[in-house]
């Protein structure tokens, strides 16, 4: 090992995020003290993000298999079969911490990273979604974060050329110090042309592709002591800088090189860059890897081996190439103006050997780097059950009409047009249902098949009851896909939580995973990929537990996709599913009564499955003209959204046995609103299928009228619905100036 590297001290170990026990484990594993570079490699492989050391034993309980699942968790992304020789490749991933530090670049590189995960597997990306959680709108940083994150997501996706078709966005004071940016990418590949990361064959060239390596993203923001030199030039922030132009070139070059049959294995350089990708490719293939860092294309001079191994520069790939195709592959990369360098090869000895400047910087057992990472069974306490709040105990502070007007213009329920209009959601010309519906619908190639895509979670439910909240996130995704006429196929999960070393946070994580597993099993809705983001807390206060579920469903014919807009006057409005008037943890209770209390609505998975199946057959048989899932805000908010879409009003009446505010705003699960020309046919079927269906009223006019209440003008509702977000974003302050990310992007 080289002698000019810093000596390993307990402080240095701690700065690498390794505990003394973990360091002992390293020494025992390799039989000696690690070199500085080796310490860096271990810290990259054994951190929470790469090793899943706190969540692993719980994630193992999730259902991941189904006849249509081609690849479950463990690869760059999950893969499912949609027939016709085609596969869908998808995953969701967080970029929370970087987005809080530098919202434009943090969000942009989040999108870039997840797109790479998808096209690494040989798929052409066809859609992106995102789930965003921000702090209280009144918090001084929130507006700046919203502006930067949205601009960053748009800036990357628009330039790369993938439509951003859907997502969700919420505000809550518990995200004040930690916003969440979860990005999902979906691609289409030929089923028999999926590419994986496991290397095979000894002596095969390891090729570096894409952008050059720089000092961005190196984990050691806290490492700026003597080892890095004292001058500020080298104290770069740990947030990476995205270049969607390079990524677009990388996409085209990778797909071309794959089509030409040059590739044995491929892995994108994401978290922990070169280290993680090289180790994974070797370890998965039961092979060793040697790397010659002198061959790595660098953006700046004088980079140390340590820096190269830990750089998280974006838009880079590692590939094991068929030796005879090296020239053809190099020509393709030159055509696209990208770097291409053979930087190592596979070896038979299962060692990970890194040399730089003629010296060996690291020589480690490759399998153990991943396999022997610590796994923790952290102590946890289950979330304390909260009392069920009886509707009768909640006194309505205002009329039904007033409450509706207030809710529809609230931060969580208002239109998100200000956001999705900054995303190109129509590029590629396949967007059947644009943002704003229950789920986005995107045609597959020339059709007739289409995918339905959604991202869902209700964090306040998860906080109140982790298990039921986990179930609800999966059930809502299932419902949203069913509502547009799709058959739900599989999901990706992005688990965002606080510090797992605190038993109550660990309890939330465990509870949510159990709930997700229970629902996924009951609904035949397996988890095929995912990501865990822990330590989302500031000053000891954690975010709301936020296990975002990204759902993918299939429509056999995109022309049969269903929307929630009322289509015509004089149609019957029906409620599918049972209503008890559950106000605990509802938006009505929170935003109208000012109480964040009680148990969340329980999720009856059998009812979810039955009611969704029932609605699916109604859509298939052409018996309904509009379908809308009921979620945040309850029945009346769902009706208002249906009415506002094409400005067709309705007259509706409440069931008599439940207090009016609980009936209209309760958030009981497993429910839909549908409209139909012939209600009797549906009621007949419902009776046969034992599905509760209730007549609510009929469409027509330009007002929404609840019997016995003041009629609400649709124009007033629309003004509130569309008004809040643009008005908020135009608010005080000079945050807009910072939108483009501190001058790092043109």
């Amino acid at each position: 090992m080289t002698s000019n590297e810093p000596a390993i001290t307990p402080e240095l170990v701690a700065e690498h995020g390794l505990t003394p026990d973990e360091y002992e484990r390293i020494v025992k594993l390799i039989g000696r003290e690690p070199s500085f570079t080796e310490l860096g490699i271990f810290s990259a492989m054994w951190n929470e993000h790469c090793s899943y050391k706190s969540s692993k034993i719980h994630l193992r309980t999730l259902p991941t298999k189904a006849p249509w699942v081609i690849q479950g968790p463990g690869e760059n992304a999950g893969v499912i079969d949609i027939g016709d020789g085609l596969a869908v490749v998808f995953k969701m991933e967080s970029h929370n911490h970087p987005s809080y530090i530098e919202p434009y670049q943090g969000a942009a590189t989040g999108v870039g990273g997840i797109l790479r995960d998808v096209f690494t597997m040989g798929a052409r990306p066809i859609a992106c979604l995102n789930a965003l959680s921000f702090g209280d709108p009144a918090h001084p940083k929130t507006r700046h974060l919203v502006a930067g994150v949205v601009a960053g997501i748009g800036g990357y996706g628009n330039s790369f050329g993938v439509p951003t078709v859907g997502g969700e966005m919420r505000f809550h004071r518990r995200y004040d110090g930690n916003c969440l940016v979860n990005a999902m990418a979906v691609g289409i590949a030929e089923k028999d042309k999926i590419f994986y990361s496991a290397a095979s064959g000894v002596g095969m060239p390891l090729v570096y592709l894409g952008s050059k390596t720089g000092r961005d993203g190196i984990h050691g923001a806290s490492m700026a002591s003597a080892e890095f030199g004292a001058d500020a030039e080298e104290k770069r922030p740990t947030v990476q800088v995205g270049d969607p132009f390079s990524e677009k070139l990388l996409l085209e070059a990778c797909l071309e090189i794959m089509a030409k049959g040059c590739v044995i294995a491929i892995q994108d350089m994401g978290a922990a860059g070169l280290t993680c990708s090289a180790v994974e490719m070797g370890a998965k293939g039961d092979l060793g890897v040697t790397l010659d860092l002198d061959k790595v294309p660098c953006r700046e001079t004088g980079m140390s081996g340590y820096e190269m191994m830990l750089s998280e520069s974006q838009e880079r790939m590692l590939m094991v190439l068929k030796p005879e195709k090296e020239k053809a592959a190099a020509a393709i990369f030159r055509k696209w103006g990208l770097d291409f360098a053979v930087i190592g090869q596979t070896t038979p000895n299962k060692r990970f050997v890194v040399s730089h400047g003629g010296a060996v910087m690291a020589d480690l057992p490759i399998k153990e780097l991943g396999d022997q990472a610590p796994v923790y069974e952290r102590p946890f306490v289950e979330t304390r059950k909260l009392p069920v709040i009886a509707a009768a105990s909640v006194a309505p502070p205002m009329s039904i009409a007033d409450a509706l007007e207030k809710l529809i213009g609230s931060p969580d329920l208002c239109a998100k047009r200000w956001v999705f209009e900054q995303y190109d959601h129509i590029i590629l010309g396949n967007t059947v249902q644009r943002p704003g519906g229950d789920a986005a619908v995107v045609r597959v190639n020339e059709g007739p098949k289409a995918l339905a895509l959604t991202a869902d979670v209700t964090p306040r439910y998860c906080e109140a009851d982790a298990f039921e909240g986990g179930k609800q996130a999966v059930a809502e995704a299932y419902r949203n896909l069913s509502a547009v006429g799709a058959r739900p196929l599989a999901l990706t999960d992005n688990l965002n939580f606080g510090n797992p070393e605190r038993p109550e946070i660990m309890g939330q994580l465990v509870g949510c995973i159990r709930g997700i597993g229970e629902a996924a099993r009951a609904l035949d809705f397996p988890i095929v990929s995912g990501n865990v983001s822990l330590y989302n807390e500031t000053n000891g206060r954690a975010i709301l537990p936020t296990p975002t579920i990204g759902g993918v469903g299939l429509l056999d014919d995109f022309t049969k996709s269903m929307t929630f807009a009322f289509k015509a006057e004089g149609e019957s409005i029906l409620l599918v599913g049972a209503t008890e008037g559950w106000l605990g943890q509802s938006l009505y209770l929170r935003d109208i009564c000012g109480r964040e209390e009680g148990a969340p609505p329980p999720v009856d998975l059998a009812a979810e499955r039955r009611n969704s199946g029932f609605v699916s057959t109604l859509i298939r048989d052409g018996l309904v003209t509009a379908v809308h899932d009921i979620s945040d805000g309850g029945i009346l908010v769902a009706l208002a959204e249906m009415a506002m879409a094409l400005r067709i009003g309705a007259v509706v009446e409440s069931s008599a046995f439940i207090p009016a505010h609980a009936f209209w705003f309760g958030e009981d699960q497993a429910r839909y609103v549908v409209t139909a020309k012939n209600a009797d046919a549906i009621l007949q079927r419902a009776g046969d299928a034992a599905v509760p269906v209730l007549r609510l009223g009929a469409t027509g006019g330009t007002v929404l009228t609840v019997a016995g209440e003041r009629p609400v003008l649709l124009s007033d509702l629309l003004a509130r619905f569309e008004g809040w977000l643009p008005a908020y974003m135009a608010g005080p302050g000079d945050e807009q100036k910072q939108v483009r990310g501190g001058g790092t992007q043109p």
Partner: protein, 233 residues
């Protein structure tokens, strides 16, 4: 109609454009790489599609305007060949001097993707013969820099010579600031050159050619071009 679609690094709507041309002309367009120096023999229509050529670095369209293929495109246009330049294509055509003026950042400084209404100002060009003058069509925009501007003299000439062919308008054809999403001068959405054979426009007619997108108002532009070449043949 034999069409050729130019592909610069970072262009990303070339597939949308190729599909529209294929669907309406019944013929697969040639995809022409930026480093090439000649257009395919017998090309009737050259299209510069939308996207982010060279990542919009330096200035939108500035680098692509100097690509090797552009010399052939310039000669093609000089001989009267038809050139359709959409979105980033419009920016490239302006940077290449094929059209006057520039596209600045949208007035409210944000990227905007939405359907807009365009009033078709004249129907006697090869690009707009599929529409009636005064007709209002609905097509999407998706751009951050579509705010058209030129000096007063140029604008006066464009207007005087009837070279503004598309204008942002309300659904019933009224031009006013509420319906001009990017702040373009005189609500200009599309212009032609002096000879009338080069059209630059910010909106994307190629994205509204199939019923699945909600509208098919973009078809008229391509159908008109096909008709133009059939009559000429």
């Amino acid at each position: 109609m034999k069409s050729a679609v130019l592909v610069f690094p970072g262009i990303n709507r070339e597939r949308d454009m190729a599909r529209a041309l294929r669907l309406i002309s019944g013929r697969e367009p040639a995809m022409v790489w930026h480093a090439d120096t000649a257009l395919p023999a017998g090309t009737d229509l050259v299209v510069i599609p939308g996207g982010f050529s060279y990542g919009d670095y330096l200035r939108c369209g500035a680098i692509a305007a100097r690509a090797p293929i552009m010399e052939a495109v310039r000669k093609f246009a000089q001989k009267g060949g038809l050139l359709l330049a959409v979105c980033n294509g419009f920016q490239i055509a302006c940077e290449a001097g094929l059209l006057p003026g520039v596209l600045m950042r949208n007035a409210q400084l944000r990227f905007i993707c939405r359907d807009v209404y365009l009033r078709v100002e004249r129907s006697d060009t090869p690009f707009t013969r599929g529409y009636n003058a005064g007709q209002v069509i609905r097509v999407p925009v998706a751009h951050g820099e579509g705010n058209y501007i030129a000096d007063g003299e140029t604008i006066a000439r464009l207007e005087g010579e009837g070279r503004v062919v598309f204008r942002y308008s309300s659904p019933d054809g009224m031009v006013n600031p509420n319906w001009n999403h990017n702040g373009a001068l005189n609500a200009i959405a599309g212009i032609v050159n002096e000879r009338g054979n080069v059209l630059g426009m910010m909106p994307h007619p190629e994205n509204h050619v199939e019923a699945l997108m909600g509208r098919t108002d973009g078809r008229g532009l391509f159908a008109g071009l096909v008709d133009h070449f059939e009559r000429a043949a």
